[in-house]
Symmetry: none
Subunit: 400 residues, 2 copies
């Protein structure tokens, strides 16, 4: 019996869960023994949660492994990120919050320019501006191929997403980008029998697309990369019995949440608006994923003080969440983003669970130093959802 | 995707790593609440490392499991010791630093004495002295068998190693030692089809050997045990992209290091000479395994005070290592050897990582009590290499 079968067999009715993910929340001291960003921040509300709840350290993947946003969030959502891998095409589609279905093959496409012989002169179409690119993408929506539904969506600059939707399409097709100029885009080649049809569709798509694009001054051809289907993930409803809502500002996190079957609610543009959305939808769901981006952004900038300020922003909304009386409030991150490294890192993530069922520990602050010795110990992120479910009294007894 | 595939896919260029393994470093208090050997020792340099780095507890195998040197080191080197098992023949060959290759079948042999009917009278040839045994071993080097390269190497007293080198030899042959006197050595019997040829070679080896030995007064026959090929380990270079050097005094540890593809450098006869070798080879490698034996030896002796002294010896060389400015210095042991038990034990091993990327914790000393609550938490030894790689900035991000 694996973890998912176990959880699925034990799920029961229970309380409401809020999982507040502060992206890249974990940090590093700038000098040995100094405070981390979290420890430098003034966070009276988060600290009160630490006192009331139980803390610990979440390992996003395994010791020493730094996750991207995809694996980082899959872990938090309770899916083993080494088992369920999100292909690049699907991640790109998730990144624009495209609702990827089980019969979809997603492809990251690049506009490029080719000469009169069809040889690539610029692999990124001189990074055509996003607005212009979006107009060219619209033209491609005219492409029709019998038996397959086709979606073409702009991303940014020369990048766009193509999705083929039909039953029985394999996702294993080689990239058509020759990776250098002076060569024509490659033919789409299937890497297994199930992907033969996908390759044929891609070939036809490319044919029609180049016909449409041939007189476009800035982008007269395209390459297709990262063909992928979404991993066969059980949904939140199946796995946990939860009606889950995702509240995020950035499309990437909406996309990741929709991969596991969460509903995307609201169109918030700030953390404060995210909490408005949470409040408005409070009665409609029993699980809420609330994503706060800017702790990661300022960490990536390498700006310690700015990250501290973002943590303080986060702290300020805590009373508004508490007001809703969630049965289980989880505060965590998908990984650490220390300003010192200006990048995602492998360091474990300070995590708290506040619930009436929490076995309170001695932690008085939300900080790396305190969480390190908290009652939750050090655990892989994929166990956070079982812990949250348990703390919301949503898991029955295993065995008699 | 398993851990090795993951690590291999993420390896990048980065800093230099020193892994200082103090064999059997972990200990026990002689009376409840008393100090361990490490806590009784005066270790200002190690304590300074604890303050600067991050500490934790390494579990050699799994909770409660006491490792021998083989599995203990495989774990430290990042190989799951339950997956990769080192057969006895290979361990014996490693113990004399014989460079075991992928086509080698290694066999632990014992000289024995037989009567005129070929029945064993002493299974260990009265523990023939090492010097005399080595002379008899030399005679066996005359054995020739077509199509196979044969190595015969002395070990100690009645023990020696035989290696058959040829493509396509299986390692699954039953022991020929009947385990009691009054019986002839058994025929070598293959336990699978791939080992048929190995059994034939062993039969021929035994025939020629007994011919050569028949008039030897002290050792006129032999038994063959622990037939084994080396486990199919990815090398340090493949797995981590590291050019690794092993610096050890004792042959066993050189042998274990060579199994994973480390180069054996220098011929040091003491810890101080090991550090000389480290310094001399500093520019040639980016990973150094430095093995210190005597903490284990004195633990095995059951001599608490002598082990304390050895720990203090270790402490004295730390500044010479620090001087070289490793990007990541790991201080650990392959297992605990508490003087109280006078043997290897299952207890977790206090471990430190010193690096600019370490998230410093509250640990101020290198000790079991402090490491127990350190920032690395408790982790299986097989995750120490991923942690070291991460702290040397040698692992890229997993997923986007």
């Amino acid at each position: 019996m694996d973890l998912h079968e176990l959880i699925q067999s034990l799920q029961t009715e229970g309380g409401k869960i809020v999982m507040l993910v502060s992206d890249g929340i974990g940090g590093l001291p700038m000098t040995p023994g100094g405070p981390t960003e979290l420890e430098a921040a003034n966070t009276p509300n988060l600290d009160a949660l630490a006192e009331k709840g139980v803390s610990g350290m979440s390992l996003p993947i395994l010791p020493g492994i730094t996750p991207g946003s995809g694996p980082g969030h899959l872990g938090l959502f309770g899916y083993d990120p080494l088992k369920y891998q999100i292909g690049r095409g699907v991640l790109e589609a998730a990144g624009i919050a495209f609702p990827v279905g089980p019969n979809d093959v997603c492809i990251r496409c690049n506009f490029c320019t080719v000469d009169e012989n069809g040889l690539i002169t610029d692999r990124r179409a001189n990074r055509i501006p996003t607005e212009e690119s979006a107009e060219v993408v619209k033209l491609l929506k005219a492409i029709k191929i019998p038996g397959v539904e086709i979606f073409v969506e702009p991303v940014k600059e020369h990048r766009f997403v193509v999705v083929f939707r039909a039953e029985g399409l394999g996702g294993n097709v080689a990239d058509t980008d020759p990776q250098k100029t002076g060569h024509a885009p490659l033919e789409p080649v299937a890497k297994d029998a199930e992907s033969q049809k996908t390759a044929e569709i891609a070939k036809e798509f490319f044919k029609q697309a180049t016909q449409i694009l041939k007189d476009q001054p800035k982008a007269n051809s395209l390459t297709m990369r990262g063909f992928a289907k979404k991993p066969n993930l059980p949904s939140y409803k199946e796995l946990y019995g939860l009606d889950a809502a995702a509240i995020a500002v950035y499309p990437m996190y909406k996309g990741l949440a929709s991969l596991v079957g969460m509903e995307l609610v609201g169109q918030p543009a700030s953390l404060s608006e995210e909490i408005d959305v949470l409040k408005e939808n409070w009665d409609k769901y029993n699980f809420f994923f609330v994503h706060f981006k800017y702790t990661d952004s300022r960490g990536e900038d390498g700006d310690f003080d700015a990250k501290v300020k973002m943590i303080e922003e986060l702290d300020k909304v805590i009373p508004r969440i508490i007001e809703l009386k969630p049965d289980c409030l989880v505060v965590t991150g998908d990984h650490s983003t220390p300003a010192k490294m200006a990048s995602h890192s492998f360091h474990p993530v300070p995590t708290m669970i506040v619930s009436d069922l929490a076995r309170t520990d001695h932690c008085k602050k939300y900080s790396e130093t305190e969480a390190n010795n908290g009652g939750l110990g050090h655990f892989q992120a994929m166990y956070l959802m079982p812990l949250a479910m348990a703390h919301a009294n949503r898991l029955g007894k295993f065995g008699a």
